[in-house]
């Protein structure tokens, strides 16, 4: 078997099939990055998987999963002002959490340089929105490089690292979901390990780095000056690419994955426009863009999500007095969704209908395929929890979800969680819902990783301002949705054992007076506890605990002597009330046309959490 860690640390040049996220780690190694931090979130967690494949003793840099993206950014910044090249990575909405720190970065003299790797998610594949983080780049005067495939991820990171070092500034490497996860063969360069310089080089020569009053303005001036310098570099950079098809009538300016989609679409088109593919997307390389616009009659800005490049190009064309027709976004649909080849084909069809010819409308096939939304795994403690909690609440009560696997409880048959915003928002939203409200109980959910990430301020506020809501803390002992990363209550961090910080102790420390704890497999007990909690006139917390069974089962399977177990249904006892398959809703249960229920042997893990849901006790313990 090929070992990823050995491959990543190879000293000679080599070729290998890798994901964008893996190529990034090789780039970090070659660039001499010393500190890397993160908080898990799709599409970026596989970066940490690649890092983990290198044994800790061989890893040329320090890595940690911090408690949230803001802290991760601060740790990387702190290391960088000591002279170490650092990198922080997280998902799109992670930048919202990190933003208070992030917007300051460009004001600072970052001695070692810092690369901020963002995993944006056009199409909202695994996020609550599809925000375009180039807005943050504009707001914070931070340059952005945007690769389109794994090879470019590797090359662009190294360029970002080099710029960050040269100008002592932050550089954004903006990835999107299908750039992170794309796989292809990449040719890597040699890597020469250097003896790292651990000297803490932080200094206050030229004054302390405290951006207050006039100091802030001076630092802003410096940030703008650096941005302009990077813009000049951008004009000379090989990260930008001209595809010259000798078409002076039509040109397209694009970047990232939309460029690849465009190239696929043009394979079937005889009139191929010229293409300017930008690697530097902020600040735009003015000279190159101006020359491209000037030399074409019409230029289409082919841009995923928002109209940021379009505004930049239109503004510089106006300043230069260019007569070229610049075609940007039209209807709202052009702002929405990932620019796959299908989407690009539609967008170009609207722009230049004659160029693509009539598109054959996709055949409308008569088959109806049932939806298959994501759902909780067989044996999931959250399923037991929702099944039990539902019994403690009335249909009028209000349930607020948070981010995590438990969010999936909003789907039928549970329908627990009627509103959700972002990490750690549920106690605050619930507190607001409880104002002037004496008739409908408010129950808010939160997972344990989120609790440490952004949950504490909302909980403390509920205590401080005496909001009479109930928080149900869905503790599964891991960060499950993103691939089982450890958090502060686990007793293990990325690098080894650490002290556990039990959630109960934290809650007690925050001043929560009413705390109930129960394993979610004890369903009737959980129902009782929730009834007690919601009837308590003060803020209360129910810790609904059960280990993530996906993680638990995976670990159990690896142990010698593991015996797979499954429950059985005694067809003589079963009177087909269908509680197991419809209300409890474990995907293991299969309903036959004659009403009979059986177990799907592909799915059952023999956890037995379903036994108690059967009114006739027809489900038998795993043998």
């Amino acid at each position: 078997m090929k070992h990823m860690g050995t491959m990543l640390m190879r000293e000679g040049p080599f070729e290998e099939i890798v994901m964008g996220n893996t190529a990034l780690v090789r780039a970090m190694i070659e660039a001499g990055t010393r500190v890397v931090t993160s908080y898990p979130g799709s599409p970026t967690p596989e970066i940490a998987t690649a890092i983990r494949s290198i044994p800790r003793g061989d890893r040329p840099f320090y890595f940690e999963f911090s408690t949230n993206e803001k802290v991760a950014t601060e740790v990387a910044f702190g290391a960088a002002i000591n002279g170490h090249l650092s990198t922080v990575f997280f998902k799109s909405v992670g930048l919202n959490v990190a933003s208070d720190t992030f917007v300051q970065l460009s004001y600072m003299n970052i001695l070692g340089g810092m690369v901020v790797v963002l995993g944006d998610d056009p199409g909202a594949n695994s996020s609550q929105n599809e925000q375009d983080n180039r807005h943050f780049a504009h707001m914070s005067y931070t340059p952005v490089l945007e690769p389109s495939n794994p090879l470019e991820v590797y090359l662009f990171y190294k360029e970002a690292a080099s710029l960050a070092r040269r100008y002592h500034m932050p550089i954004i490497l903006r990835l999107t979901t299908h750039v992170c996860h794309a796989k292809e063969k990449v040719a890597f360069s040699a890597f020469t390990p250097l003896q790292p310089d651990d000297t803490p080089r932080f200094n206050v020569v030229g004054g302390p780095q405290i951006p207050l009053t006039e100091e802030a303005l001076g630092k802003k001036r410096e940030a703008l000056r650096k941005l302009e310098e990077v813009g000049r570099t951008a004009n000379e950079s090989n990260l930008n690419q001209l595809v010259d098809n000798r078409n002076r009538r039509r040109g397209i300016i694009t970047m990232g994955l939309p460029y690849l989609s465009l190239m696929d679409v043009l394979e079937k088109v005889s009139e191929k426009p010229d293409i300017l593919k930008l690697g530097f997307v902020h600040p735009v390389p003015r000279k190159i863009v101006e020359a491209f616009v000037k030399s074409h009659d019409e230029v289409k800005i082919l841009e995923e999500l928002d109209d940021i490049l379009e505004k930049d190009v239109k503004s510089l064309a106006y300043d230069a007095g260019l007569k070229t027709r610049i075609l940007g976004k039209t209807d709202p649909e052009t702002w929405i969704g990932e620019y796959t080849a299908d989407k690009v084909q539609d967008v170009l069809n609207d722009t230049w209908p004659d160029m693509l010819g009539a598109r054959h409308p996709a055949a409308v096939l008569p088959e109806v395929v049932l939806a298959r939304p994501p759902q909780m795994c067989p044996g999931c403690g959250h399923r037991s929890a929702f099944h039990a909690i539902k019994k403690a609440l009335s249909g009028q009560d209000i349930t607020v979800a948070d981010i995590g696997c438990h969010t999936l409880g909003y789907l039928p048959p549970y329908e627990m969680g009627q509103v959700m915003m972002c990490m750690g928002a549920s106690p605050g939203i619930g507190s607001g819902l409880s104002l002037f409200n004496t008739s409908r109980k408010v129950v808010v959910f939160m997972g344990d990783s989120t609790f440490f990430h952004a949950g504490l301020p909302g909980i403390l506020n509920a205590v401080f301002n005496q909001h009479p809501i109930t928080l149900i803390l869905m503790e599964n002992g891991t960060t499950a949705m993103t691939g089982h990363q450890d958090h502060a209550a686990v007793g293990e961090n990325f690098n080894g054992p650490t002290d556990k910080v039990p959630v109960r102790k934290v809650l007690e420390g925050l001043g929560v007076k009413h705390i109930y704890e129960v394993d979610t497999y004890q369903q009737s007990r959980l129902t009782e506890r929730v009834e007690t909690a919601v009837n308590n006139p003060e803020f209360s917390v129910v810790i609904a605990r059960h280990p993530c069974m996906l993680k638990f089962t995976r670990e159990a399977r690896r142990k010698p002597g593991y015996q797979a177990k499954q429950v059985h249904i005694d067809q003589k006892l079963c009177n087909q009330t269908h509680t197991c398959v419809a209300a409890f809703g474990c995907p293991t249960f299969t309903r036959h046309t004659d009403g009979k229920v059986t177990i799907n042997p592909d799915l059952c893990i023999g956890d037995g959490s379903c036994l108690q849901t059967c009114p006739t006790r027809a489900i038998e313990k795993p043998g």
Partner: protein
């Protein structure tokens, strides 16, 4: 600035593969084996998998594109030459969203009932329904099912075996699939999967 042009000739028309299944069925491994086998066979190849949220019992998709002039790793709607599904409903979904008329479908005939079937809001589809759709569109369908499979997590290898035995992907030979499996598996897992791969089809 780098300069290039798109004018050029095909060495090989792109061959698009669309893999679909349910989170937990091992579609990631199957896709990675195909990707590496295609590379060993000398194809230029690009791929991309679903990660994150959808993996929890939802629809999981993997795209694989072979050819000299392939840019995005994503297969366009209705352009998959081969649809590989690990479940019956997902076979139908793959046919609907990705399959090209006249292409091929290979699927493992197990059912992970969607919620609406379990809630008795919809009836279960049958293998015959899939066959009817394929026949109407000139798609050749290959059904894989091994009732005696020791470990359900090896269904993907049973599918791989059928793909190989019927030469459903141009130019990939037995040794290429084996090399790919050796890159990704070891010990008893490798042995068991190789045995299944060679044994049936």
């Amino acid at each position: 600035m780098l300069k290039s042009e798109t004018i050029g000739k095909y060495l090989m028309k792109p061959f698009n593969i669309y893999l679909i299944g349910v989170g937990g069925q091992g579609i990631g491994l199957l896709s990675e084996i195909l990707l590496r086998a295609a590379d060993y066979a000398g194809h230029r190849v690009k791929a991309v998998d679903t990660h994150g949220l959808a993996q929890r019992g939802g629809v999981v998709v993997s795209h694989l594109r072979l050819g000299d002039r392939v840019f995005s790793p994503l297969v366009q709607g209705g352009e998959a030459d081969l649809v590989i599904a690990l479940e019956r409903y997902e076979a139908l979904r793959g046919l609907k969203v990705a399959a090209r008329d006249g292409g091929a479908l290979v699927y493992y005939d197990t059912v992970w009932q969607p919620l609406d079937v379990r809630l008795n809001r919809a009836a279960e589809i049958q293998a015959a329904d899939i066959h009817r759709v394929c026949a109407a569109r000139g798609i050749k369908d290959y059904v894989v099912f091994h009732p005696a499979l020791e470990d359900t997590r090896m269904q993907n290898t049973a599918v791989l075996s059928t793909i190989h035995k019927n030469e459903l992907i141009p130019e990939i030979q037995e040794k290429h699939y084996k090399n790919a499996m050796e890159d990704l598996l070891q010990g008893s897992a490798l042995k068991q999967n190789l045995k299944l791969f060679e044994g049936n089809g």
